[in-house]
């Protein structure tokens, strides 16, 4: 045995301070969680057995999707392009909304606590209202079509990106900002030189992630009149036009996968 261990073991055994028992609290928490889930299961009418009983019906329904029809594939393809354009401009609008809100909503940059809280609450509002709700509003304002969809995506995503930006700004190294401010530079110069270089990589990565998410949202926003492939998805499913619906779904899956690959490439190249 090593000398150190022998020495340690030669002394009288110390009694560690008593440890608080956590089992009782853990049991109570588990029981509470079980009650909540049981109740919520009743609310959502959880009936797993029906999935098995009606398996035959489901199979019949799905069979229609095994033979996609390519009769209107050109039109659907074009609508996919429209969808990507909605997401592109929606994300661009989101950046325009997020940058001022994010700057004002960062505790370490806000010129006044009132402005900070106003910006924070504005971003909360934009995030709380789903893009589909915004789409319904914009459809009444500017009419059916991709413009309404793009506005809805931009406004909602603007709130999300603004929140992410303000939190990124709050976690920057204050020393680098102090170094710029110490030269007597104006507030705008301090932001451009002390803040922007520190937050750009993170912000860019958030923008790309939200662009991917906007593509997925744009592919269904047509259901509420926001333009793009979503209208055809809704129309073909609702009319039990299974073969057409299958084509639309395939195209959406292909589009989302392509965009994810492209966006991953951009992220690797820039960050």
């Amino acid at each position: 045995m090593s000398r150190v261990l022998a020495d340690l073991l030669s002394r009288p055994a110390p009694a560690p301070p008593p440890r608080q028992s956590v089992t009782a609290r853990g049991l109570v928490a588990a029981a509470a969680l079980a009650v909540v889930f049981a109740w919520a299961g009743r609310v959502v009418e959880l009936r797993p057995l029906e999935l098995i009983r009606d398996a035959g019906n489901i199979a019949t329904f799905l069979r229609g999707y095994l033979h996609p029809s390519f009769a209107h594939v050109g039109e659907y393809g074009w609508q996919c392009v429209v969808t990507v354009c909605i997401a592109l401009w929606g994300t661009a609008l989101a950046i325009a909304v997020a940058v001022p809100l994010g700057l004002l909503g960062a505790r370490n940059l806000a010129p006044h606590p009132l402005i900070y809280h106003a910006a924070r609450r504005a971003m909360d509002l934009l995030r709380a209202v789903n893009e589909f709700v915004f789409a319904l509003m914009f459809v009444t304002a500017v009419g059916l079509g991709p413009f309404a969809g793009m506005l809805a995506l931009g406004v909602h995503t603007g709130g999300v990106l603004g929140k992410l930006l303000s939190e990124t700004i709050e976690s920057i190294d204050p020393g680098q900002v102090e170094g710029v401010a110490g030269t007597g530079a104006t507030r705008l110069h301090v932001i451009a030189f002390g803040v922007v270089p520190q937050v750009t990589p993170n912000f860019l990565s958030y923008v790309l992630l939200r662009f991917e998410s906007d593509i997925r949202s744009a592919s269904v926003i047509g259901m509420v009149g926001g333009g793009g492939i979503g209208f055809y998805l809704w129309d073909t499913i609702r009319s039990f036009n299974d073969r057409e619906a299958a084509t639309v779904i395939l195209l959406i899956v292909a589009m989302v996968m392509c965009i994810d690959v492209v966006s991953a490439r951009i992220r690797r190249a820039t960050i």
Binding site: D173, G175, Q176, E178, G179, V180, A181, G182, T183, G184, A185, T186, L188, H189, A192, F193, G194, P197, Q198, T200, P201
Partner: protein, 271 residues
């Protein structure tokens, strides 16, 4: 030597943080072109004195006259104008790490931009004169060949020299250095002190630096200020720093004896 005007006049300066009195009625006059070292134990008020001079902190009482003007109560635009003429060197360099060496030095020119160049600077576009000044300042600290490298690829000593170039590019009357060499090893510390001295020499630039090691003060300063418990307890030439003065500034403890000891001598050769 030519008769020199006082560059900084401190009159009965006090600074309290709550109940803690960090500075207690400190009065001193610093002549233009002097290289002044401020020494003392940690908590003696060195940094507080410097923060009052740079107006990172506002004095509780007393006046600070720089070039004849009381800066103790400046605010807003007047404070920015004062900072534009005052170079700051920080212990942690406070450079913008993701920007190039050149961009960091150009930050020193930001408050001096005017007209369209003020806006162009937001896109990191600078007037030929500003770029010329920045290049000369970089050359002065011997780092012109690193101009396009990112600052975070440089060593600590090189980064601190970039910070000196940034301060010189401001065209300052006064440079305030808060523990400029505390984060550096002896060789790099000596190189930085040399760059600071070389930058100040000939230009009639006043330098006030807090230093943690007496040896640096002895070697580089024209004049040494010793602070203990917020009071000025020593003011004189480095040669006058005898054992009695040392006891007054640092007291008597093992730590106090350690700061007196000469630094490892071989490294001084590089300076």
């Amino acid at each position: 030597m030519i008769a020199r005007a006082p560059a900084v006049v401190v009159e009965s300066l006090s600074k309290a943080y709550g109940a803690t009195r960090a500075l207690e009625r400190v009065s001193l006059t610093i002549l233009a072109g002097q290289f002044v070292a401020v020494i003392g134990r940690s908590g003696a008020g060195k940094t507080t004195l410097l923060r009052c001079l740079s107006r990172a902190a506002t004095p509780t009482e007393g006046a600070i006259r720089v070039e004849g003007r009381d800066i103790a109560t400046l605010g807003g635009r007047a404070l920015r104008r004062y900072r534009a003429r005052t170079g700051m060197i920080y212990q942690q360099f406070n450079l913008v790490r993701r920007l190039t060496v050149m961009d960091n030095v150009l930050i020193g020119r930001l408050p001096h931009t005017a007209g369209v160049w003020r806006w162009a600077a937001l896109a990191r576009c600078f007037a030929p004169r500003d770029r010329d000044i920045a290049a000369r300042a970089l050359d002065h600290v011997g780092l012109l060949d690193r101009a396009w490298q990112r600052v975070d690829t440089l060593s600590g000593g090189q980064q601190q020299r970039v910070a000196i170039a940034r301060a010189l590019a401001q065209g300052p009357e006064l440079i305030l250095a808060d523990e400029p060499v505390a984060s550096l090893d002896v060789a790099n510390g000596a190189a930085v002190m040399e760059a600071l001295r070389h930058g100040a020499a000939g230009a009639g630039l006043t330098v006030i630096a807090t230093l943690h090691h007496v040896e640096y003060a002895r070697r580089f300063a024209d004049r040494v200020l010793g602070l203990a418990e917020g009071r000025l307890v020593f003011d004189g030439a480095p040669a006058a720093l005898d054992a009695a003065a040392h006891l007054r500034i640092f007291g008597d403890s093992a730590a106090a004896r350690a700061v007196r000891e000469p630094l490892a001598t071989a490294e001084w050769a590089t300076a």
